[in-house]
């Protein structure tokens, strides 16, 4: 068994070396272990993290961050819980950005495609700079999505933005003051609420439950003693 164990070990020299790297967090230099995530680097360097950490799984968008690698002028974006640090990296967390969110009652919209222009009048003012697409850590073609929204192709937008974690990193870069993630959220919800087929089977099932179609089965089941119930459950495969 010991022999077998030895054979089945993945090489991870980086784990054994414990190499430290120097990173700059919000303008201050810290030595942290190479390869840990940015969030872990924050903890390692002694910072109390309240804002800037959420699900820690790359889904909630709380940890939007900017970073630049050594000698590269390009400032990039990432989710700090999903990005490993490397030597010479400069990092800062994105502050909450005061984007305007329109409010609406999605269910009572009369003409959602036209309403887009009332709710987000800035949406058609995109100047095609593509900064939003470059800023997206989820690799969504954000600019294309904004145009599709404006042209009424809500279905495509809803599919393109399924990956959107609402980190909002597309917003501060927009020279037309569009909040593309909020536009896409409105469009996706409108697509779901107004332009998607109603599932007939669901209504049938709801009616069946209301009409008591399963009542006899319930009565029988809930009257069973422990043993009978266990036996019955065993028959359901």
């Amino acid at each position: 068994m010991a022999q077998e164990d030895k054979e089945n070990i993945i090489d991870q020299p980086e784990v054994l070396r414990h190499k430290m790297v120097t990173v700059e967090i919000a303008g201050k230099k810290y030595d942290v272990p190479e390869g840990i995530t940015i969030i872990k680097a924050l903890w390692y360097s002694g910072q109390e993290v309240v804002r800037g950490a959420g699900c820690l799984g790359g889904f909630c968008g709380a940890c939007a961050a900017y970073y630049r690698t050594k000698d590269d002028p390009k400032v990039r974006t990432c989710l700090a819980c999903q990005m490993a640090v490397q030597d010479g990296m400069s990092i800062t967390m994105m502050p909450p950005f005061p984007a305007r969110k329109a409010t609406y009652d999605i269910r009572t919209l009369k003409d959602p495609k036209q309403d887009l222009f009332n709710l987000y009048p800035e949406a058609p003012l995109c100047r095609n700079c593509n900064a939003c697409t470059e800023a997206c850590p989820q690799k969504i073609d954000v600019r294309e999505g904004v145009w599709k929204a404006v042209f009424g192709d809500f279905k495509s937008v809803s599919e393109m933005f399924m990956d959107c974690v609402m980190c909002g990193m597309c917003t501060p870069v927009c020279i037309a003051d569009i909040a593309p993630n909020l536009v896409a959220l409105y469009v996706s919800r409108a697509q779901g609420a107004h332009f998607t087929e109603k599932p007939v089977g669901l209504d049938i099932r709801i009616k069946e439950i209301e009409d008591g179609r399963f009542n006899d089965e319930w009565t029988k089941l809930l009257k069973m003693n422990e043993k009978e119930l266990a036996d019955h459950c065993a028959t359901v495969k």
């Binding site: 993290v49 399924m162 990956d163 609420a193 439950i209």
Partner: protein, 526 residues
């Protein structure tokens, strides 16, 4: 060895494995396996509670310490309310949002408080889907039976019946809000098969089901102008002279001020306990999953149930280091992905219940058939490339974009290379005992979602959590709202702490632990 060299055996054995059928275990074999290998049965990791509503009941040591912990609120605390509301919801995940929306829609004045941002939760990470019996060949009764089997027959029947019967109307509500569930060609809701279920019943939004639902619910909470209190952590509940719940005390994590909220009802939707790292396990849970609601309820006298059972999701990532504990969705096994040991063998029916699959992975690793990493971890392979092999190239990318992207960030293509996984602390099966309106034995104290217990028995079935959140979020919200109209605001005291502290003293609890924990102590101090 190089990871690719170790992975060869998975590629080499794939075709042979695809011809194999592994049966699910019989109830007796299942029990034996779980007793031998599941972390819930490691006696030394548990201890009985020494006082409080669950005195004598066993729970994980990490949780016991917090449940018996002291409150940060001291005598003479100024309980003048900063806010007054009908319904106070604590927690900004799925259950919290659902509770707030339904209470608001029913006409109540609602406030939603959360220690992180609105929506930062476990709900947002739910990938597998939501179990609702919408298919013609399925029924709520079958959903009930499957869940009961998964929960080792320990589920509260009344709670479970309510959940499965209200499922379809919940789907309709979410659709009306614009949630984009996957569809079949005929426009009906597409259903996938989940572990432990006899019928395909999982509604999905690709592998972003939780994210999609949460995007919509968060947006709706903002659209309805529900009052928010973000970055405010609940540190104590208040009670009147009858011990009924009357509000809560918060600590604003930005300016460290105390915030007192008077409420006719409080709904705790505070989620789970993964960040307690029970038995040292990594976790798939969000940053704030520290069991705060359990501590608050317990001090106020609410009874807990099934607090000795936790769910270890079978497939937490073990490699690369950055993703340790992160979830590899069960959806991959639902679509036929195999679990493979170091010898290239399958060892369990991958769609057996989570406790069975986790226990079998632990068995393989303990018996030397695991694959080790140099950081001292061990795991087995999840054969992700099998999906493209079986269903055509591009299947992984199309069905699991979130998963693909997560590994791609570390230069791993999981459609070509298998993933190393080991069970990760995922869910608290039990929690605060509730009735079918989601109310605890403490009047006007409701608990919804993962913080509550009873519904899932001793093992939650995949896809039942999202439904739990929506159903009991709704029921708590509606009940609290209906009651608000006809009742006065009770007095705000912390009288319940007196008795709790006396009990603690009697049992020599001077550990100095203050609960709730609020956030895990990951910050390096030296």
């Amino acid at each position: 060895m190089d990871i690719h060299a170790l992975q060869q055996i998975v590629h080499q054995t794939r075709d042979a494995r695809r011809k194999q059928t592994l049966l699910k275990l019989s109830p007796a074999d299942r029990d034996q396996l779980i007793h031998q290998y599941h972390p819930d049965f490691r006696e030394s990791a548990f201890r009985p509670l020494r006082f409080g509503p669950n005195v004598g009941d066993k729970t994980a040591i990490e949780l016991a310490t917090l449940l018996e912990g002291d409150s940060s609120v001291t005598d003479g605390f100024d309980l003048t309310p900063d806010y007054t509301t009908d319904v106070l919801v604590v927690g900004g995940g799925g259950a919290g949002c659902a509770a707030a929306l339904h209470a608001h829609a029913a006409g109540a004045k609602v406030m939603l408080a959360t220690k992180l941002r609105l929506g930062d939760s476990n709900s947002v990470m739910a990938q597998g889907g939501m179990q609702i019996s919408v298919a013609p060949e399925d029924s709520p009764v079958t959903h009930f039976v499957d869940t009961l089997k998964g929960g080792h027959m320990q589920n509260d029947h009344q709670l479970l019946k309510v959940m499965v019967e209200e499922g379809p109307s919940i789907a309709k509500w979410l659709l009306s809000l614009g949630v984009l569930f996957d569809r079949d060609g005929d426009g009906n809701l597409h259903v996938k098969k989940g572990g432990g279920s006899s019928k395909p019943r999982l509604l999905t939004c690709s592998d972003y089901t939780g994210l999609e639902i949460m995007r919509v619910l968060k947006d709706e909470v903002l659209n309805q102008n529900i009052q928010l209190l973000e970055f405010c952590a609940a540190v104590e509940l208040t009670s009147d002279e009858n011990g009924h719940c009357t509000g809560a005390i918060f600590k604003d994590l930005d300016n460290h001020r105390d915030v007192v909220v008077a409420a006719k009802s409080v709904i705790l939707a505070t989620g789970g306990i993964g960040r307690l790292h029970i038995q040292g396990f990594p976790t798939s849970n969000h940053y704030g999953a520290t069991g705060d609601g359990l501590c608050l309820s317990y001090r106020l006298g609410a009874k807990l149930v099934h607090i000795d059972t936790f769910q270890y999701h079978p497939s937490g990532a073990v490699y690369p280091e950055q993703l340790i504990g992160a979830l590899v969705t069960e959806g991959i096994r639902s679509e036929g992905g195999h679990l493979v040991n170091a010898k290239g063998e399958r060892f369990v029916n991958e769609l057996d219940t989570r406790d069975v699959v986790s226990a079998s992975i632990i068995r393989e690793c303990e018996e030397g058939r695991g694959i080790r990493t140099m950081s001292g971890r061990v795991g087995v392979w999840l054969d992700t490339p099998l999906l493209d092999a079986a269903q055509g190239p591009g299947t992984m990318e199309k069905h699991f974009p979130a998963m693909m992207l997560q590994f791609e960030r570390f230069n791993i293509d999981i459609s070509k290379d298998p993933v190393l996984i080991f069970p990760t602390l995922h869910y608290q099966n039990g929690g605060v005992k509730i009735d079918t309106n989601s109310e605890t034995n403490v009047r006007n104290l409701f608990v919804a979602g993962e913080a509550s217990g009873g519904l899932h028995g001793r093992n939650r079935l995949m896809g039942n959590s999202l439904l739990d959140l929506m159903v009991f979020g709704k029921r708590s919200g509606l009940t609290a709202a209906a009651r608000a109209a006809s009742m006065p605001q009770g007095k705000l005291t912390v009288g319940h702490l007196k008795g709790f502290r006396a009990e603690a003293k009697k049992h020599g609890s001077a550990s100095g632990v203050v609960s709730p924990m609020i956030l895990p102590a990951y910050t390096r101090k030296e």
